[in-house]
Amino acid sequence: MKLIRHLLIAVASVLAIQLPALAQSPSIFTATYSSGFIDLDPSTAASSEIAVLANVYEPLVWWQPGSDGGDADLMPGLATSWDVSEDQLTWTFKLRDGVVFHDGTPFTSEAVKYSIERTQRLEGASSWIWWAVQSVETPDALTAVFKLSDPSPIALIASSAYNAWMVSPSVGDKAGDWFNAGNAAGTGPFTIRAYEPGVQAILQRFDNYWGDKPEGGIDIAVLDIVEDPVLREQRLLGGKSDWSENLETDNLAQIDENPNVSVVRFNAFQNFFGMYNTAKPPLDNLAVRQALSYAYPYDLLVNDIMAGQVTQARGAVPVGMPGHASDAMQFSQDLDKARQLLTDAGIEDNSLNLTVTYTTGLPEPQKAAELYKATLAEIGVNLTLQPMSWEAQYEMATADPASAQDIFMMFWWPTYVTSLDFLSSLFRSEDTINYNLSYYQNPAFDALVDEGADTMATDAAASAKSFEEASRVLAADAPAVFLYDQQSVYGVSNAIKGYQANPAYTNVVFLNQISR
């Protein structure tokens, strides 16, 4: 009994003593992420760790979304201006003067050369973006010249969220382990103060940063990993966190009602669709593809299953990205029309058996496929669901189109912001099957895509026009059922000012733009 009493007293006294007031309190920002950072090596990282990297490192060029109706544009990063030669094989970047890396090394053209070569040498998942670069020359300290084997939009590529960060040459031969131990060598406005894999990363303002600190800017940022969605929400609502991603869809309305927190939404450059097998009957027939596209209950998917957190897709390029055609064909559910199209195509009721494959583990494809099965049954089409691991799904799709699935559902997102990654990677004719899993072949479409690719580096507006036209052609030809474009949804404390998401850099909070 005495023991318990002592214990209670001890607990009470511990609770009673408050933490001493801090003499000089720095401004702290706390963000909560749902999954851990994996690879902090800026030359190879290909995932969620850009949340850290985009604040610690800088690229030569940033990609900026269009705001207030304006066009998206490339903005100077560590390069202040750039130029491409007539033959599109030489790119010249003028570099920002007076920039130093966190370790004090000055940022020069040698650093650019080192960073690109390191990325190519380490062969990370996104390093292919530099495939055309044969060499980086350094005529003077503030000029870097990229020599290419083939025309390639290097300025746009330099704005990639993956494998395009500038790293201090002082890193030398050090490999990923050094970075994953919490070391960094960037020029960004923040340095890594502490890093515990799977738990958190603490970033601290870099005093010798070349740029300005905003009025009321933050000094320290804590990026916490919290895997439980309820806990992420509790932390946000309880004022323990200023920003959170991946909140429970069902709770968003309730979160938004909290006077201290707002829910904000941004376009995300990721979409979800089902690719029709155009290489074999019956989906080689446009009428059948149209019938299947008219059958899908888009409203149910978008508003009920996805709770309005996505928008119905219009063609292959997500909304907000140059090349997205706002007047492209968009199907809406019309079962009578679907039935009519099937009858016209000479398909008898209940004679059509199709299979759809999708990746297991995520709830969305499962729900989207089940919904499809239910509505197709209404027009006398039997859909067999085949959930598989990604490897198995992909292997089946690439083996032999004649015996492959009828519909292949998947998510897609670009490495750097270009509709080429959607139009070309997914739908341009391929000799060997890579990601054109519709096995779609349309020379007129290919020509438009190539036209857009050719002018990408020299005339962004003309290139976007070609891509838009290609998007229109594609949408009308329905080589896939385009389901939805993803949105990024975040909960943000109202105490934070200046927060803007950039869809090119998924889930990044640009710490030098926000203030309290």
């Binding site: 009994m1 023991l3 318990i4 214990l7 607990v11 511990v14 609770l15 003593i17 933490l19 001493p20 801090l22 702290i28 706390t30 851990g36 994996i38 690879d39 290909a46 998942a125 990923g176 994953n180 502490a194 515990e196 894999p197 799977g198 738990v199 603490i202 320290i220 804590v222 916490d224 919290v226 895997e227 439980d228 309820v230 806990l231 509790q234 932390r235 309880g238 323990k240 691991s389 990604w390 490897e391 198995a392």
Partner: protein
């Protein structure tokens, strides 16, 4: 049979169990319908990359040689690299295991200081009002789902009263301005050793709710076990003698009766300790406690099987080890118990 040879035989059995578990875990992960090489190579990997991963992981070799490599490395404390985090698994376990142990030790401490005295009190007047209330209390504790209690505790102590922190091991302020130097990896212990009082208070406050949640079942168990064992002891003749000698009730209960009743209680609590290694999973996730449970949950969801294998093996070793120690302790406490 001599005690020593019995001890050796018991030790041998323990080793056999560990080897068997390692074989079963190894086979189970090889039977999964996913290609480890493709997992290792990462998303959208080319066929060449997957083949390279297969060679790097030694998956092209026969199963037996794969197992022997795995077992050999594991003996040296090398569990390979996690597919998900690319971190050496041994280092991860060394980081996460102390957090879990801290939680379990705290929970067991609560079970001892709350469960056992309450059990003794309940046994003082068998079938009395207090006994019945405590019985209900114990059964409730043992049967309420921990994750529910955890959320209620968070609601009451964080959201309404704001007395205790919501989650994590220390607050951001402590982490930044009075960080705990890692010695044992257990936050409260390290803060105590380094006399970092600010951090100790903070770490202690963070420990209360998760430890309390995890202790509910053991408290109920300890209460019932103590009550049961005490019931039997209280009707024995030496207690009647003590009563006749006019000793006070509390002396009889705690000095004489409890001493005889405590062995089975400690045995069960020892086993519960080992069991909590896996039982802590939910508590760790809800309180964002960076322990082994949260670690292995994430690994299971990502089919990160080197981690699953390593944690299973470490869990087995600890479980079997504690079992062995409990047997040993029993034999020492109670001469009637024989190891054979």
């Amino acid at each position: 049979m001599g005690t020593l040879s019995a001890l050796l035989r018991r030790l041998l059995m323990t080793l056999v169990v560990i080897v068997c578990v390692s074989i079963i875990t190894f086979l189970a992960t090889r039977l999964l319908p996913t290609d480890p090489a493709a997992l290792y190579a990462g998303p959208r990997a080319s066929a060449e990359k997957i083949d390279a991963a297969r060679l790097a992981l030694g998956l092209d070799k026969p199963l037996v040689s794969q197992y022997l490599t795995f077992a050999g490395d594991a003996l040296r404390g090398d569990f390979g690299v996690s597919f998900r985090t690319r971190q050496p698994i041994s280092a991860d376990i060394a980081r996460f295991l102390p957090a879990t142990l801290e939680l379990i030790v705290a929970a067991m401490f609560l079970a001892l200081v709350i469960g056992i005295p309450l059990g003794v009190i309940a046994a003082a007047r068998p079938e009395g009002k207090l006994d019945q209330v405590l019985r209900l209390f114990a059964i409730s504790l043992a049967s309420i789902p921990g994750f529910w209690v955890a959320m209620i505790l968070q609601l009451v102590f964080f959201k309404w009263l704001n007395w205790l922190p919501l989650s994590g091991r220390v607050s951001t302020e402590t982490m930044l301005f009075s960080p705990i130097e890692s010695i044992t990896g257990m936050g409260t212990v390290d803060a105590l050793i380094t006399r970092n009082w600010v951090a100790f208070r903070d770490a202690f406050a963070h420990l209360i709710l998760p430890a309390l949640t995890l202790s509910l079942y053991p408290i109920g168990l300890a209460l019932r076990m103590t009550r049961g064992a005490m019931g039997a002891v209280m009707s024995e003749r030496h207690i009647t003698t003590a009563r006749a000698m006019g000793l006070s009730q509390s002396t009889i209960l705690f000095r004489f009766a409890l001493k005889n009743a405590i062995v089975p209680v400690l045995t069960v609590l020892g086993l519960t300790f080992a069991f909590s290694l896996t039982g802590a999973v939910l508590v760790e996730v809800i309180f964002d406690w960076p322990g082994l449970g949260a670690y292995v949950t994430a690994a299971i969801l990502a089919v990160d099987f080197p981690v699953i294998m390593a944690v299973t093996l470490v869990g087995t070793v600890i479980y079997v080890g504690i079992n062995f120690l409990v047997d040993l302790a029993q034999a020492m406490l109670d001469p009637r118990v024989r190891l054979s």
